[in-house]
Amino acid sequence: MTRMSLIFDITRTHLLSRLKQSSIAALGVTFGIGTYIIMMSFMTGLNGLLDGLILNRTPHIHIYNEIKPSAQQPVDYYQAFQNSINVVHSIKPKKSQVRLHNALPLMAHLKKDTRVKGVTPQANARVFYLAGSNELNGIVNGINALEEVRLFNFGDYIIGGTPQDLIRNRNGILLGAGIAKKMSLKVGDRVQVSTATGGIFPLKIVGLYQSGLAEIDNVQSFVNLKTAQQLLGEGSNYISDLNVKLWDMENAVEMSKNISRQFKLTAIDIKTANAQFETGTSIRNIISYAVSITLLIVAGFGIYNILNMLIYEKMNDIAILKATGFSGTDVQLIFISQAVIIGILGGIIGLLLGYGVSVLISNTPFETEALPTIETFPVNFDPAFYVIGIVFAMLSTFLAGYLPSRKAKHIDPIEIIRGQ
């Protein structure tokens, strides 16, 4: 204990007597760690936001009936032609129902699966929006708003109202922002909707839906599931789509295959639908890690350089310490502890700097069409970055101190004393 306190005393005197050099070395670490924290917080925050844009509102498995031609035409079943090449011209898609057969029992079945976080039913209706003499075609989605909010962050895309307003108002509609603009409608107004079958329904606008994608906002609106079924003139078991959200996205591929085989439905998983997405995320992560690690290594070289010079400067001191009974290890400890102190101090200040700037960024206004509810830049305050930052600071400064200190350990005092 007394040994360490003595070594620490020498270390402190060395550091304080060249305060300028020491602080520059520490500043190098501060800068490296600070930038690392800022970059990682900001980049992963943005990544999360961008991923969320697509991933959060995309169902992990989307189940529906696709209109498509049958894979096997009747001629293929005819045994007489089994060994011949059959060519059928102008194949037309098979007429099938849009609704999912036995949708409610299927929903109940899926909800029992432990991998499933939730299932939301939808009933889609093609409509015309009527305002005066204008007719705009579009799609109305009948949804269970509560479940959509819970599973697909539906609430993030509603402006001028809340999903709860839709639940409270049976004849409410969350109108696509593009449609509202075209027809100069606002929240509280009424819009008339006519269906393919000819019925006209007046609906009250309780909010606007803005996804940020103009193509969607120009056609799509949301109503309660029941309202949509009424628009279609169907019963309460009419469901055209099921959106499944899983606890773990990785299971989506396998599950979707099983569902489409077992129930003879089309089931698209998120990975097939958004394959390019993960690539972008991982490349952004690699870039931010590469830049921050480069910064930290540069800071490490700075410390290495300063300690190396310090050891050349302190040759006489090292010789006399050794002559008066300090061992090589003592001398080595003196220089390593200098490096580690620089690393810890610089690292902690770097963490504070990184945190401060992150807070600043997270309060900077950031407005995007895509996410109407986001007002400031997204920042990820994950404590893991801070832990990695300080560990890396200590590790790199230890290495930067260890290499020169080994030289100090092996300095032969006689050479120094004779060399004068």
């Binding site: 040994r3 008066t324 009974g325 032969d412």
Partner: protein
């Protein structure tokens, strides 16, 4: 006869650039309280001998004893402990740690030895500085005092652990005659009053003549 310091058949070779026999079969001993000087021309090997005796140079043949304990073959940290506890050094150049105060410089070897409380060490250091007449400089930075004063601080530092023997490599080589005399008188006084053994390598004939015994070396051998 009980020697404080004894060398038996010490041989030393320099291997670079060519093999060179520096010390040839050196054997001698120093008694308690004896003040010995080593003289000889440059290159005769007297400093080399001193560094072997000081335990800092371990690349030699033969045996070395301090206080009847054989030191040949001990490990680096063990030798460091021996130097710390039993040997005091005074060099031609003062080798104080410039960022530390005079008092801290004197205290360092004792703090390393850690046999006494910090308070006791501080008192001892002040006492040694007082003995050497530089108590008033105690709190100054080591880089702020004069050459003669620095050498006295170095002597105080050499004394702090009450060693058996003090070794000097041209301790007066860099001092004017007044300060040289001063240092000699301090050494003499220590030898008489505290029964301390001293071994000093010197070029200064006046200095050597006043010591108890002169060991004269030439070409790696003791000639008288």
């Amino acid at each position: 006869m009980d020697f404080i310091l004894e060398a038996r058949a010490v041989n030393k070779y320099f291997r670079n650039p060519v093999l060179f026999h520096v010390l040839k079969n050196i054997s001698f001993g120093i008694n308690e309280g004896e003040f010995v000087s080593i003289m000889g021309k440059s290159g005769c090997g007297k400093s080399t001998l001193l560094y072997i005796l000081s335990t800092m140079d371990t690349d030699y043949e033969g045996d070395l004893f301090i206080n009847k304990r054989k030191l040949t073959g001990l490990t680096g940290p063990e030798l460091a402990h021996v130097r710390n506890e039993q040997i005091g050094f005074v060099f031609q150049f003062h080798y104080l740690l410039p960022e530390f105060s005079v008092l801290e410089n004197v205290m360092l070897p004792a703090r390393k030895l850690a046999r006494k409380s910090p308070k006791q060490i501080r008192m001892d250091a002040m006492e040694k500085l007082d003995l050497l007449g530089i108590k008033d400089q105690a709190l100054k930075k080591a880089s702020m005092i004069s050459g003669g004063q620095k050498q006295r601080v170095a002597i105080a530092r050499a004394l702090i652990n009450d060693p058996k023997i003090i070794m000097g490599d041209e301790p007066t080589g860099n001092l004017d005659s007044k300060n040289s005399l001063n240092v000699f008188n301090i050494f003499k006084q220590l030898s008489i009053e505290q029964n301390l053994s001293l071994l000093v390598v010197t070029h200064d004939l006046d200095f050597a003549r006043k010591t108890d015994r002169i060991i004269e070396m030439a070409d790696g051998e003791i000639i008288s």
